[in-house]
């Protein structure tokens, strides 16, 4: 049985990946954050938390998955989301991912800079998608473009961001000027 301190340490170790997992399932930053907080609350209250890092992460994802399913039921989402096999595949993908909290932090810092460097029209699309939570179709309506064109833009801008982050990390000491 894990004590409180090692429990919070474990939880922090998996913070980014767990939030990413929840985000992958709910696909909305606000909802993902709320569910993440709720998972945290529940984790700290459970007594049989596994002490092994991987088992612990899987256990957290289990709690998160239940909360997300509940959330979906309350929102009556598209039935495709309940495709069990797809959820299992996503679970597998996260099982295989290595938690790299420190790297994730550095990436976030780099990302903040990279977002600022984006040209306005690119940042607008990113804002609409990831802040306002609009779908490609809705963004397309606003910009009078097809959803396919919007997805192309999103792909391109995301690739730019990835590249920008990698180059900053390669330069070393992301965030220290």
């Amino acid at each position: 049985m894990a004590d409180d301190e090692s429990l919070s340490r474990l939880f922090l170790q998996h913070r980014h990946l767990l939030l990413s997992y929840i985000h992958a399932l709910v696909r909305d930053s606000n909802d993902a954050e709320d569910i993440f907080q709720e998972v945290g609350v529940r984790v700290m209250k459970k007594e049989q938390a596994p002490t092994d890092s991987r088992e612990f992460a899987a256990w957290c994802r289990g709690i998160a998955r239940n909360l997300v399913l509940h959330h979906w039921r309350s929102k009556q989402r598209n039935p495709v989301v309940a495709n069990e096999r797809l959820l299992d595949m996503l679970e597998l993908a996260y099982q295989e991912a290595e938690p790299a909290e420190e790297l994730s932090k550095q990436r976030s810092i780099a990302l903040a800079d990279c977002l600022r460097l984006l040209p306005d029209h690119s940042r607008d699309v990113i804002n609409m998608r990831y802040f306002e939570g609009l779908t490609s179709v809705e963004i397309g309506e606003r910009l009078e473009r097809s959803s396919a064109a919007v997805r192309k833009v999103l792909s391109r801008v995301r690739a730019q961001l990835e590249e920008c982050i990698e180059s900053r990390l390669a330069l070393g000491g992301a965030g220290d000027e």
Partner: protein
């Protein structure tokens, strides 16, 4: 990354995958560990972007507000923010500023401004704060700010500052546009507070069962702000009862914050906490789910008559469960020493199988389920009676009717059930649904 995978990932995030595409997506992930790694990277980037955008907006609005209000900024760190465990300092400060702004009387416009920037969510609209009265039973009154009252009509919308008062044996349901529902017990008095930073209500006395839909970020629903029994909730189901001295909150699902702001405790699923004016909220303790009152959608309708033969003076109410021991008392002070009750509604079972119903009734009882008479003991005199077992299927609702009478005191009536997989217990509210025969309401006094 594989182009098709990239398309599917974006479609998944848009929630526009068809069943076929969902299968294709699952196949792609299942067959290729590189695809799985790509997917995780993709989602992690989406997540990080969302987080960064929120963060930068928080920071900007905090900076702006701090510049505008230097006095607030200084006290922000010792503000009430301590009771809101949040991961980000930026948000903490914003919340503190928000609360302080409200406190020093900036009121609506500043709230609006900050909330707007905060979550990127729609500003709390006045219309979202005004509940409709969707369902009433018996005598329910609306009380306006100037103390004028009139009887409520179903479908009426309550204004900010209005109160609703239910009398004994009556009830009402309040429904907000976002689906948040309050089911009010009899003898309850509740006011809609004229604040626009979220749903604020004051429960002066009585009880309610709340099903709260998720609330906008930074604008939780609050009952009894500034009181020892403050309840703050973002989205959950719970019961809240208050009398002159003591308040109890019982949570069915989710969590609420309960108690004076700086001493609040977090009450989670299947727990309760008590607070009173001279005692802060107690540490939450576990409760049996049966003890939570689940609102008027559950229970049986009881028609109570002031005679042993279902005639004479009459009132109706909904009883969450049939478990009474009146003794020498009568259910209503207007009754003399004999009375009769007919409970009607429907019953559902947790699992398909054979059920046995039991009654403990003084003086006599008749029970029928699904039209079959199971117990007919009009002079039962307090004995425990078991009915003929009956086969019931999960997911179906069966009509149930109980007739009961008493004359000589020692009045009691309990309805229990058992099955091979369930020990004998009082039939809980969650399995019962009241009959909806409004026509007899007219006779209510």
């Amino acid at each position: 990354m594989n182009e098709r995978l990239a398309e599917l990932l974006l479609a998944w995030e848009d929630d526009t995958l068809s069943e076929v595409e969902a299968d294709e997506f699952a196949d792609l992930l299942g067959n290729d560990s590189a695809a799985r790694a790509n997917a995780v990277d993709h989602f992690s980037l989406s997540c990080a972007i969302g987080e960064q955008l929120q963060e930068s907006l928080h920071d900007e609005s905090v900076v702006r507000e701090l510049q505008r209000m230097p006095t607030v900024a200084r006290s922000a760190s010792e503000g009430p923010s301590a009771s809101r465990p949040r991961s980000r300092v930026g948000l903490l400060i914003t919340v503190a500023v928000l609360l302080m702004v409200g406190f020093i009387g900036y009121r609506f416009d500043v709230h609006k401004l900050i909330l707007d920037k905060l979550g990127g969510q729609a500003v709390v609209n006045v219309e979202d704060l005004r509940p409709k009265v969707t369902d009433t039973f018996g005598d329910v009154q609306i009380v306006r700010a100037d103390d004028s009252t009139n009887n409520i009509v179903e479908g009426a919308t309550l204004g900010l500052g209005h109160s609703l008062r239910t009398s004994k044996n009556s009830y009402a349901t309040l429904l907000f546009p976002d689906g948040t529902k309050f089911e009010l017990r009899g003898d309850t008095h509740i006011r809609i507070e004229p604040l626009r930073s979220g749903k604020h209500l004051t429960l002066q006395r009585g009880g309610l069962f709340a099903s709260v839909a998720p609330q906008p970020k930074g604008a939780p629903l609050v009952i009894n702000p500034d009181s020892y029994d403050r309840v703050e909730v973002v989205g959950t189901r719970f019961e809240f009862v208050r009398d002159a001295t003591t308040s109890v909150v019982r949570v069915e699902t989710g969590k609420v914050e309960f108690g004076a702001t700086e001493r609040a405790v977090e009450v989670t699923k299947r727990r309760e906490s008590t607070a009173s004016s001279d005692q802060q909220a107690t540490a939450p303790r576990p409760i049996e789910p049966e003890t939570i009152w689940r609102g008027w959608g559950h229970g049986l309708r009881g028609d109570y008559y002031d005679s042993s033969s279902f005639g004479g003076q009459h009132f109706a109410r909904i009883d969450p469960r049939i478990d009474f021991h009146w003794g020498k008392q009568v259910p209503d002070s207007s009754f003399k020493n004999e009375f009769s009750v007919r409970w009607t509604g429907e019953i559902e079972v947790p699992q398909s199988g054979e059920y046995t119903f039991w009654t403990v009734a003084h003086y006599g009882v008749r029970l029928s389920v699904n039209g079959e008479s199971l117990i007919n003991s009009w002079a039962s005199m307090g004995a425990e009676e078991d009915g003929r077992p009956i086969e019931l299927v999960k997911g179906k609702r069966y009509p149930i009717e109980i007739e009961y009478w008493d004359r000589h005191g020692n009045a009691k009536m309990r309805l229990l059930w058992s099955s091979p997989s369930m020990p004998k217990s009082v039939v809980d509210q969650q399995w019962l649904y009241p009959a909806n025969n409004e026509n007899s309401d007219a006779e209510d006094k």
